[in-house]
Subunit: 194 residues, 2 copies
């Protein structure tokens, strides 16, 4: 049954995300992860030095995947407003498929117990906001959005809108379709920017 290091690491990360989605971060114990992939609890520590290290890599993996999914919204040659709309849609879609993300991001375990993890999340958020701000600026320059817009501030509010929506979705136990919110959410954002 012995599998190579990298493969086990991936199994552990994926199990962590699945468990976080299903049960919440608190219940992602090293025992639970071990049970899910069928190894002993002690085995987990052959592949990760601490439990927090697992969370750190899980977050890094999610961030990578998300930016991969959003990358052509930041680069393609379409109009800025079209790309921003697509970004909103893709992001909601991505989060729908990775419920572990809000659970990890919104757990106080994360911000308050591991300064390194908190720092990582802050960096990801800042990176995200900056990219969205660039997109908005393009939209302002090309006349799709209002001229008097503060791009960085607007990007922050768009991020807040999505985060707040996801927060609510998480608190309401994922019991409405997040993706379906993309259209009305875009209408709201669009009318705020236009």
């Amino acid at each position: 049954m012995g599998k190579p290091h990298q493969q086990r690491k991936q199994e552990i990360i994926q199990s962590t995300l699945a468990l976080a989605a299903e049960l919440g971060v608190k219940k992602v114990t090293t025992q639970a992860i071990a049970d899910r992939i069928g190894v002993a609890q002690a085995t987990i520590f052959r592949h990760f030095k601490t439990r927090d290290a697992i969370f750190a890599e899980a977050i890094a993996w999610l961030a990578d995947q998300l930016f991969l999914v959003l990358s052509n919204c930041f680069q393609s040659q379409q109009d800025a407003d079209q790309r921003l709309q697509q970004l909103v849609h893709r992001q909601l879609q991505f989060i729908s498929e990775h419920k572990g993300l809000p659970r990890l991001l919104f757990s106080d375990r994360l911000h308050l117990e591991s300064p390194a993890l908190k720092q990582a999340v802050q960096t990801i958020m800042q990176h995200y906001t900056r990219e969205v701000a660039k997109l908005i600026e393009e939209g302002v320059d090309s006349g799709h959005f209002r001229q008097d817009l503060d791009a960085m501030q607007s990007a922050g509010f768009i991020a807040a809108l999505i985060q707040g929506l996801v927060m609510r979705w998480s608190i309401f136990n994922f019991d409405f379709d997040l993706e379906q919110e993309a259209k009305p959410l875009w209408d709201f954002i669009d009318s705020a920017l236009r």
Copy 2:
């Protein structure tokens, strides 16, 4: 040193909120609460049956206070848009003064371990959204806001904006002035509704 029951309950609730604000929900142990008010750990359980019961009453207290602060935004005779602007400002001000609120609301302890607590939070949020929706409808009727607005949906997005902003504020360790965000936030909301 023996104080009456109701007074001690209030001390425990206030200590809980202060500790949650400073250190996060996880570190609000019964020992920490006891230390803060200068009694033994066992004494806490003379006044509350369980630790979760403390959180439940703390949330109820916050909800009461918040609706008290917002009450005349829901009732006064001013224009709807003026009252909505005031609501946004007062709410941010209130949260600034009660950092324990986001910490409690966004802790996974709350949603995932105590269904009763989660239910309470859901009810508060729904109540809030419904009140804001009524306000928006008044604004639509009086011609201050767009005619084609879905009041309930817009109210949801406003709630999401505030929650997302507060979330970010919490993740960034309360290191920017939340109240100062009221004006730009209102500009954003206003242009989305008008």
